[in-house]
């Protein structure tokens, strides 16, 4: 049985940066199976987790001084909640690992402590029949496990309530941005192409100068939709994400343009409006996409707001691009 440490090494931390930035996020795996923490024995608790390395690390890190088993189930390197949602963290998978590690011969008790968020995919009541162990749900966060164990398997309301504090929102930002570079490059190419259209049919120098302005507007949109909106989420008016993004995108673009491109703003109002509209529409889309990363948006709700959101975003970008081209002639 491999014993693992409760402290993270510099390699673990480096890996965390890689995983968080999306660099190898989709397969940052731990080999499924049984691991020991401390000096586990016949009566030590069995904690179940996903084989996403960050889930595994979060768990082992909170266990210094505790003797326990960690049963890592194969979720294809995906975290507990998403894996449970995708049903890879399932009743059958847990039962399979219990049997393949011969857990019944290693511990005397018949209890598995599951992360509460695995409940989406694991029906604890069906585990007994499937593998002979009873499943109970521990707290949502690994950090509460020591308290949970000390209190004799009691989790209070706070431990059972999902949170979404600033830190939890901030760690999602790098991934949001890393997923963006392809569409961003494509959009930038199109913007530079369009920026050259003008009275002289096509002007490379206009493509350059106006292209840069458009690029700045896109960068502001990313800043607004993928960074500021997640960070400031609870303080931005409206519950609908497309509206939050549009507000932040429009405001960010207006403020930044007033500071960076004061001449465009005054001398060429249509161009300025085009850029603000572009930033608002793009930020609106990015913010709407962030619903997939929050722990409180229902799919039904997202479907509802998307009808309005997409209409605004499509209308906004079309209008922005039209104005942008037109402003070159005006």
């Amino acid at each position: 049985m491999p014993l693992v440490s409760t402290t993270l090494t510099w390699r673990d931390h480096l890996g965390t940066i890689g995983a968080r930035s999306g660099y190898y996020r989709s397969n940052y795996k731990v080999i499924p199976g049984l691991y020991g923490i401390g000096r586990p024995g016949l009566d030590s608790p069995v904690l179940v987790t996903a084989n996403y390395k960050l889930s595994f690390d979060a768990l082992r890190q909170v266990l210094p001084g505790i003797d326990a088993w960690i049963l890592v189930v194969d979720t294809r390197g995906i975290n507990v909640w998403c894996a449970a949602g995708k049903k890879t963290f399932s009743t059958d998978e847990v039962a399979y690992q219990v049997k393949s590690t011969r857990l019944a011969e290693i511990v005397r008790h018949r209890e598995l402590i599951l992360p509460q968020l695995a409940a989406v995919g694991v029906a604890a009541g069906r585990l007994r029949k499937a593998c002979g162990f009873n499943g109970i749900f521990g707290p949502i966060q690994a950090k509460d496990i020591p308290t949970y164990l000390h209190r004799n398997r009691q989790a209070d309301e706070a431990m059972r309530t999902v949170t979404f504090n600033t830190g939890e929102r901030a760690v999602l930002i790098p991934v949001e941005i890393c997923l963006l570079w392809k569409p961003f490059l494509a959009a930038t190419a199109v913007l530079f192409l369009l920026s050259g259209i003008g009275p002289e049919v096509y002007s490379l120098s206009a493509a350059g100068t106006r292209g840069i302005q458009a690029l700045i507007a896109s960068l502001l949109a990313v800043l607004a939709g993928a960074v500021l909106t997640p960070l400031l989420l609870p303080w931005i008016p409206s519950r609908q994400f497309w509206l939050k993004g549009a507000l932040v995108g429009g405001l960010t673009a207006m403020t930044a343009m007033a500071a960076l491109l004061p001449t465009t703003w005054t001398a060429d109002l249509p161009a300025a409006i085009a850029l603000v509209l572009w930033a608002a529409s793009v930020a609106s889309y990015l913010a709407m996409n962030f619903t997939g990363s929050t722990p409180y948006t229902s799919l039904s709700g997202v479907g509802l707001e998307m009808r309005r959101g997409l209409a605004f975003q499509l209308g906004g970008t079309t209008l922005a691009l039209g104005l942008w081209i037109w402003s070159a002639f005006a």
């Binding site: 998403c82 989406v120 059972r160 709700g301």
Partner: protein, 97 residues
Amino acid sequence: MKDFRYIDGAAILRLDREACIGCGNCVTVCPHRIFRLEDNKAAVIDPDGCMECGACATNCPVAAIYVNPDDGCGCAALIINRWLSRITGKTVSGCNC
């Protein structure tokens, strides 16, 4: 999650109190504390706080809970892919989370 509220009236969550046997599983697993046991039966105390994760339905031994069964995370890209796939007939590729 008192600081975060999403669109009211959107989530699809139905509880069949007749069928409920009061085991309390839904009360335990819900990450938004939507249920409470009242008179030995589950009661929905905050329907608008539900995020449709489905944990309660998965763990109800008598199938007394119905949650919008569309699974997967609620990101816009996935939903757009779904809408497109309905038009084009192609299968959906998942999202990235």
